[in-house]
Symmetry: C2
Subunit: 230 residues, 2 copies
DNA sequence: GACCGTTTGTGAACTCGTGCACAAAGCGGT
DNA sequence: ACCGCTTTGTGCACGAGTTCACAAACGGTC
């Protein structure tokens, strides 16, 4: 593997020639969480075997995933927990901070606003907005709900890069368009609709009803095969 | 394509020889939702092109997905909306009803309990349980919160097949073990932990923090390439 | 009934992701 | 300095999933 030496004299792997696969990126946060657990437990080094078991993946897959972000491991020993945490954080972009705006403060929006998990890894809920005048002014988790018309001002002022949509499905596309128009380039959508966005905007969806239907499919498969065995 | 005739005289495609791929199963609920929208709008038939656009996938992928569940389409015309809804529902196992138990009625559990989307497609919230005695007895969306020790009784009585975990991460594995011990074979996990379950149990996870970190990765990628262009 | 434009269903090529197996590399003990 | 044990990093084969491209099928029209 080729190694470049940067100005400060520290060796620096530039494995950022080939981009990391989407499947790998989706697993890195899991590794990160598991590693954080090890670090809390005072464990200094882990083998790919241990990490793999804790993360629920195969050891080979784990090693291949990690190899995509550089060669940070010691043969015969394993990985240094703290160093690996740092490297994964760096690759995922968690060394920066991201401001999040939550749009739609209903049942779900309330839960999200109060969710402690946001703050833990570089994400900060900058504002809560809703279209319902009755909700505007309410304070949740230390934040006052603002009107959705303030969206552009809020996004500009707090340099919001991630928008979370927790409105009814009927309003989601409209809200998304407004977010994109304000310059938001990442959207996390909880509403059960397929959002249309320009090329450069990333959308990820969390869809409870789809998850349930996938489970239903497997339930049926299980009960059918149980029936066939009879 | 071979066609079998069942006892009742109706022609019945037995495309259920080969199992449907996981990727396809994950998209079927999306098609179903889009189709429901078309049906509401009074549209009787759709082409793969129309459906694909509405579902946010390519037309070829859509046709291949649908072909996996039989040959329900008319060349030169398209698909009959109602019939396709029925067929997808059948394949996904939504013609049956599933009872769901929600474990952990905190911020998120509250939102889930009140979520209308549960009832719409054959899923029924049979019970809410929590470990906190202060929460037991509270009524949410017409259901009284019961103690988690009642879990086994509840699962047996309501024939619960799907368990939703909305407890803190520290309690999730324990709750999961108890659900599995009661005979629950599908779990939807909102807690940020990797659950260990026996082979025959399906687990799906919804993990907000992972989604955010994936978005962060792409945000970083975007800002880096913008910087490189400068 | 033959023709024509349309749309499905699907083989085939291709890309992407996974798992195996092993050589290279490090560490500790002698 | 050597040896043996452990574990990484990766080449390779394989399977899953996607995309292309087109023949076969259908409805409508003459
Ligand atoms: N509650 C859940 O557990 C749950 C689970 C999965 C998905 N969802 C989805 O999440 C979304 C929200 O669910 P909920 O239960 O919180 O609904 P809700 O009706 O309780 O809340 C929706 C909120 O959005 C606000 N809103 C409506 N239009 C708006 C607009 N144009 N701009 C800004 N705010 C607007 C409303 O005033 C309301 O406060 C829905 O799409 C739902 O399908 C909810
Ligand atoms: N709030 C959110 O928006 C959000 C988003 C994503 C993920 N999550 C995750 O969902 C889970 C719940 O989040 P929350 O905000 O509702 O937390 P919460 O603390 O408000 O609620 C947790 C509930 O679980 C109950 N509980 C604890 N141990 C239990 C046990 N052994 N059996 C049954 N019930 C038990 C508690 O009494 C409490 O009522 C957490 O793991 C959290 O990380 C929450």
């Amino acid at each position: 593997m080729s190694v470049a030496v940067s100005g400060d004299g520290l060796p620096r792997q530039h494995a950022r020639r080939t981009s990391i696969s989407e499947a790998t990126v989706a697993r890195l946060p899991v590794y990160l969480r598991v590693l954080a657990g090890f670090a809390d437990g005072g464990i200094a080094t882990v083998s790919s075997e241990q990490l793999a078991v804790a993360a629920g993946v195969g050891p080979a897959k784990l090693r291949k995933d990690l190899s995509h972000l550089g060669s940070y491991g010691t043969r015969g020993v394993g990985y240094d927990v703290d160093y690996l945490i740092y490297q994964i954080s760096r690759v995922l972009g968690l060394t920066q901070h991201y401001s999040v705006v939550i749009v739609g403060v209903g049942n779900l929006g309330h839960a999200l606003a109060g969710y402690a998990g946001f703050g833990t890894r570089g994400f900060r809920v900058a504002a809560l907005v809703d279209a319902d005048p009755a909700r505007v002014g309410e304070t949740i988790a230390g934040l006052e709900v603002q009107h959705v018309d303030e969206l552009e001002t809020i996004v500009k002022e707090h340099e919001v890069s991630i928008g979370v949509i927790a409105t009814p499905a009927s309003a989601a596309q409209d809200v998304c368009d407004r977010l994109v128009a304000c310059g938001v380039t990442s959207v996390l959508n909880f509403a059960p609709v397929v959002l249309n966005v320009p090329e450069q905007v990333d959308v990820r969806k969390v869809d409870l009803s789809i998850e349930l239907q996938i489970l239903a499919f497997h339930e049926q498969r299980k009960s059918l095969s149980a029936q066939a065995a009879r």
